[in-house]
């Protein structure tokens, strides 16, 4: 099993990195030929950075759109964020003070995450409009994330696993020195689902994460009268 998971995580990491890297490159190389920020929009670069920060941290537009989706979505994402930060402890030898400090928050944030996911999933069944737009993969993503959250919670609060060994396994992976992974069904499922998520990430709607930063309606400065933008293919038209 150790070897299986070692190979799986090398693979998953490679796919995630290459896949998302390629998508970011692809987004970045595609020109935005026209000025299309959704106005009113900031007129300065720092204003745009602030707008983007509000979108990424507070989900400002979603807040304007629908309070329930915002509540569940924000709980899930912020929970996930804290949980991910907490998990850093499995990847560094010496745990810095701030990471120690965050440990209890990260532990209980898993409840936030699971509650948010539950709410989002409930809406896919209960709200007619959202039922209409949901695809099977939308449900499967929620199942996958809930699976990760529940198995994680299970290991934290119910069926403990040998986390020292888990840490040794991942530190070993990073040093190309495979260490034994504890045999624990909860851990196996947890890791399997995480690897699956990493592999599917670049081919899925999870691309909304890098995508938001490239969204022209949110990342453009509103200054078209002062600045002439010209995409290379548009400049070609000008020459004809």
């Amino acid at each position: 099993m150790t070897l299986f998971f070692a190979v799986l995580f090398y693979l998953a990491f490679a796919v995630l990195l290459a896949g998302v890297g390629y998508k970011i490159y692809d987004f970045a190389r595609t020109p935005a030929p026209l000025s299309i920020p959704t106005t009113p929009a900031p007129t300065t670069k720092s204003g745009v950075a602030f707008r983007m920060a509000r979108e990424v941290v507070l989900f400002e537009s979603l807040f304007k759109g629908n309070l329930w989706i915002w509540l569940f979505g924000w709980l899930f994402h912020m929970g996930l964020f804290l949980v991910l930060v907490r998990h850093l402890r499995y990847f560094v030898n010496d745990i810095p003070a701030w990471l120690l400090f965050i440990q209890p928050f990260g532990k209980y944030a898993a409840f936030m995450m699971v509650a948010g996911l539950g709410g989002l999933w409930a809406r896919r069944f209960l709200v007619e409009r959202i039922r209409y737009i949901s695809t099977p993969s939308d449900h499967l993503w929620l199942a996958l994330l809930l699976g990760i959250g529940m198995t994680g919670l299970g290991m934290t609060f119910l069926m403990h696993t040998d986390i020292v060994a888990v840490k040794a396994f991942f530190l070993g992976l990073m040093a190309f020195d495979i260490q034994p992974l504890p045999a624990h069904p909860g851990l196996f499922i947890h890791l399997l689902l995480v690897a699956l998520l990493m592999i599917l990430f670049p081919f899925s709607k999870l691309l909304h994460a890098p995508g938001i930063f490239f969204s022209p309606t949110r990342n453009q400065v509103d200054n078209p009268r002062e600045t002439r933008r010209l995409a290379p293919w548009a400049a070609q038209i000008e020459k004809n």
């Binding site: 020109p31 989706i69 737009i133 938001i212 022209p216 078209p224």
Partner: protein, 513 residues
Amino acid sequence: MAAPEFEIPKFREFPTVPAIVPGAMAHSKPYVANEKVQEGIGLPTKLDDDWQVTHDKVIGKFGELLGKYRSLKVFMDACVHCGSCTDKCHYFIGTNDPKNMPVARQELMRSIYRRYFTMPGKLFPKLVGARDLTKEVLDEWFSYFWQCSECRRCSVFCPYGIDTAEVTMAARHILDSVGYGQKYSNEILGKVNKIGNNLGLPGPALENTLEGLEEDVKDDTGVDVKYPLDVAGAEVLLVTPSADFFAEPHIESLIGYGKVFHAAGISWTLSSYASEAGNFGLFNGDYAMMRKVAMRIREQALELGVKRIVVGECGHAWRVAYAFWNTLTGLGAGGNDPFAVELQKQLDPRYKQPSHICEFTWDLIQQGRLKFDKEANDSRIITFHDSCNVARGSRMGDFAGGQFEIPRNIIRAVANNFVDMAPETIRETTFCCGGGGGVLTDDLIELRVKGAFPRMEALQHVVEHDGVNFMATICAICKAQFSKVLPYYGFNMRLVGGVHQLVSTAIRLGDEQ
């Protein structure tokens, strides 16, 4: 008004999100452009007899656009089906057709994107909602992408800023490129390219109209207000939607612009060659076409040697002028290439190029160069309808949101009775009039009437509670659309008018005493 063949939505006491009615608007589609119309603007004249050929052309064009527009590429990938946009579209609220929910409209195209451009869609189409491109899909595109007015309201509420307008434009561009154009919009593009304006009004007719206007204003005020045409060396070139030249209530605003120029003593001219501010190239998502239409204005600005360009009351025209002219034609500032510099060195750098007529008038008011008899507007209780392209696709003045403040400031400066509609229906969350984006045609009247419903509901509220009897707006399409649909909801069609119509009523021309 003949009895409509469809049900007009009823005003609700407590507006809630309607239940979906699948297929409610599946029958809606505009007339298809015939071969002559398509040929007139250099597009393929009809769908290929061999479906496979059309199929391959659609996918080819789709791929090309994905490489040209970051917006399209990101928007195809980023949607998570969260549902935030589902109840935001005026066409959904008015028709209850779930395919008029912005996400579902995008999905018509995204399902094809997934099938042909993503791995999961190629391997597991059912799982991720991907589907093959068929003639039926293309017909569905033609129906539902002509049920979007590209108003961008959905993009305000999307956590990733996905703008359905960009998706609609791409879909229409693809449809055009395989010979499946929309008659109304493409006919108009033919006219503007050939004659210089969307209405096909030739130079001599324009001259006659303006002369008549001068006489009318003289009779009315006793003052010789001029409406000059093709005057080389004028300070300002005014570019306005051609509806301003003859349609009601549009012409009242044109009269107002002339009075403002007169009272301020600034020389100006209209152009017969560039007699159109509107640019339907935007609606079809056709960059080259949009540029071609806009180039007429650049050419005239150079030929007439004007120092300033001012744009009249037109929503999408202002979006194109404000946000795109600098890119398309170099009409703006900050250019460092010879093409842009040629025009920009001619224009007066003390002013924003181009300026909106409301910016122009408001500047003069602030400088104290215009005087008003506000009482002249006292019979009016006024509200303001923010036009979508101005509200969410452009700006006025120096600060974000100037596009909301400046027109309201003007109204308050020229009239005593102003009241806003409900906050969730104005400013950045304003509802489209229901006729924007290339659907202002009688073959889509059901869509237009139903799409106006949210605005009509908000209007009804201020009519009832505040006695509003004048809805000012700064868009030619809004004015035409409201004139047509107001009666369906029991309002007088004259309830709509322009901001400069109000200016026109109250302005002191300065030489009467």
